[in-house]
């Protein structure tokens, strides 16, 4: 009866400056409860959402970055990061939080959820998905 669709969440905004990043994360976690096939893209300023070392103590903002670590537990383990966006910002994959999941088909081995992709590969992801949600 219910058909599994591919949902693609496109994250292009930095955290804190606007509410887009937090709203996206909440929608992803809610959507993950409905057994859909979920992929996340972090591109443009969206790559800053999963920057490591975020510390909001002095600013009084809510640090929601630890919540990204929960994505793996909700079977959200296809996290695509655009290479070009990282490079333009002087960053590498080492600047990102090490987001992981446990692979049930491989004796629950802990694996990285992060996949580095090019702009061309992101174009294909967008074309191939059933539903695109932009934040």
């Amino acid at each position: 009866m219910s058909e599994i669709k591919n949902f693609l969440y496109v994250n292009r905004k930095a955290p804190y400056g606007t509410v887009y990043a937090l709203e996206s994360l909440e929608v992803v976690l809610i959507g993950a409860a409905f057994d859909q096939d979920v992929s996340l893209i972090f591109m443009d300023d969206g790559v800053f959402q999963i920057k490591k070392d975020q510390n909001t103590e002095a600013s009084g903002l809510k640090n929601f970055s630890p919540t990204y670590n929960a994505l793996g537990d909700y079977d959200v383990n296809k996290i695509y990061v655009e290479k070009e966006s990282l490079e333009a910002r002087g960053m590498t994959i080492d600047d990102l939080m090490p987001l992981t999941y446990e692979d049930e088909d491989d004796d629950w081995a802990e694996k990285s959820s992060i996949r580095m992709v090019s702009a061309d590969e992101i174009r294909d992801l967008m074309e191939e998905s059933d539903v695109v949600l932009s934040f």
């Binding site: 930095a14 804190y16 400056g17 920057k51 490591k52 510390n55 909001t56 002095a58 903002l61 002087g90």
Partner: protein, 95 residues
């Protein structure tokens, strides 16, 4: 003169326009998403040498980029922010 930039340089042109118009002896203060302009090795990093550039420490820390700051960029706390505002006769916010 103090210039204040609060937008990401990768999303808006406020920082680039500010650096193109700021006098060499002015100070540019980066706050909120403006602190991303201070990233080492980014596409806008070569503009940082044009004037003195400072960044608000709490906004830098929130975004986790303290270790990514370009050489020469100083950080100020909220008290330092107030000092910059009172020490400069004119302030322009590049909103």
């Amino acid at each position: 003169m103090l210039h204040i930039v609060n937008k990401s340089p990768f999303e808006r042109d406020a920082f680039t326009s500010c650096m193109a118009h700021a006098a060499a002896d002015s100070t540019v203060l980066l706050i909120e998403d403006g602190v991303f302009a201070a990233m080492k090795g980014s596409t806008v990093a070569d503009q940082l040498s044009k004037t003195k550039v400072v960044a608000l420490q709490s906004d830098v820390a929130a975004r986790g980029i303290e270790a990514n700051l370009a050489d020469g960029v100083e950080m100020v706390d909220y008290a330092g922010f107030v000092d910059l505002v009172t020490d400069n006769e004119k302030i322009q916010s590049w909103v």
